[in-house]
Symmetry: C2
DNA sequence: CCTGATATGTCAACATGGCTGACATAAATT
DNA sequence: AATTTATGTCAGCCATGTTGACATATCAGG
């Protein structure tokens, strides 16, 4: 293995000292948070990856069945807004999930062009299995924090999300509170 | 657009009530955090994506040049550990970054088989440009938190990362503190 | 009722960035 | 001298994103 001593090699926080020399470093890069986000998210989604592999699915399938399960009656258009992918990309994974009985469609009530999507019991079971894994990791990470700390984490994550052009699901998450029915 | 009322459709937190009926719901899924992580990370990396596109690069290039810039002298093997990809995948993007002058190689001192990687000024400029964008988002999100809140976010992210089989870079991040030289 | 807009589905082609397997070279190690 | 290690490279496959074009069903308005 390589024998580098990283502790001597880490780039120091200050910028290269050949610039204007007095620009007061407006916003020193948050190297720590940037990298922690990378590693944390990698391991977070990694939990699900192993299980998904056994089902012959990928992350794309997880995202689709997750949001359909969580927001029953979601239309295809809504799902496209949430995932921000093209309908061609969606249709590939959605078709598999439909064929294999993880999701069912129903024509819309007021608009019969729409396909309302619902997770089957099979789909719900998969989503819950995956969520359980990820929840374990989250609980473990929140366990050592005071209640105010856990609250801060939620606030932080919300504040990291773009406010402009939020889709309906995102609106619900940001404003409705996860088990909402108390939105005006 | 679809006219679903999400507030009526959100799946309630409790599980399906057809089970053992008295298993006390060991760990209710953290739907909120799971979804916030998805959206937050999507927007977080989205910042960089637009800039990268202008350079003809993708996320893979960003990760490589980022870690090389941050940990100068990183070997190829170390980089593979950090990114957890195969050398074939790495070589594709690494070659481009070398050809276009964002990164340079040098033979190792003690082991001349190794290729120590260093970011050029051009590479550093790109990394800092991207880090500045992401830092703005992070600062914005931390701004409204008390100091204890920001600390909680860091702790949370660290605790979300797998401890087993950590590579050297990760060791440094988790234990060395971002500007470390005080590790025994 | 006809017309145009909308919601969805589908075909074809392509790009990125993962992967495996096989093999080559140079340098270190034994 | 033989083996192992660090790296590079070729060839091909897979998952998942993209664009463009086009078909169908349905809604909505004159």
């Amino acid at each position: 293995m390589a024998d580098i001593n990283f502790n001597e090699l880490i780039r120091q926080s200050g910028g290269s000292p050949g610039e204007a020399a007095a620009d007061a470093d407006p916003q020193p890069p948050r190297w720590d948070i940037i990298e922690l986000l990378f590693f944390a998210y990698r391991d977070f989604v990694g939990d699900a990856d192993h299980v998904l592999e056994a089902f012959g699915f990928g992350r794309a399938h997880h995202r689709v069945v997750h949001f359909v399960c969580r927001y029953p009656g979601l239309t295809v258009a809504d799902l496209l807004d949430v995932l921000r992918i093209t309908k061609q990309s969606l249709s590939r994974v959605l078709k598999q999930l439909l064929d294999e009985g993880y999701i069912v469609q129903r024509a819309g009530d007021s608009d019969r062009r729409q396909r309302l999507l619902f997770a089957t019991a099979k789909g719900e079971a998969l989503v819950e299995k995956l969520a359980r894994l990820q929840t374990e990791r989250i609980d473990r990470a929140l366990r050592d924090l005071p209640p105010a700390g856990a609250e801060a984490v939620g606030k932080f994550l919300r504040a990291m999300i773009d406010r402009d052009d939020p889709d309906k699901v995102l609106q619900t998450i940001l404003h409705g509170g996860a088990s909402a029915k108390d939105v005006t």
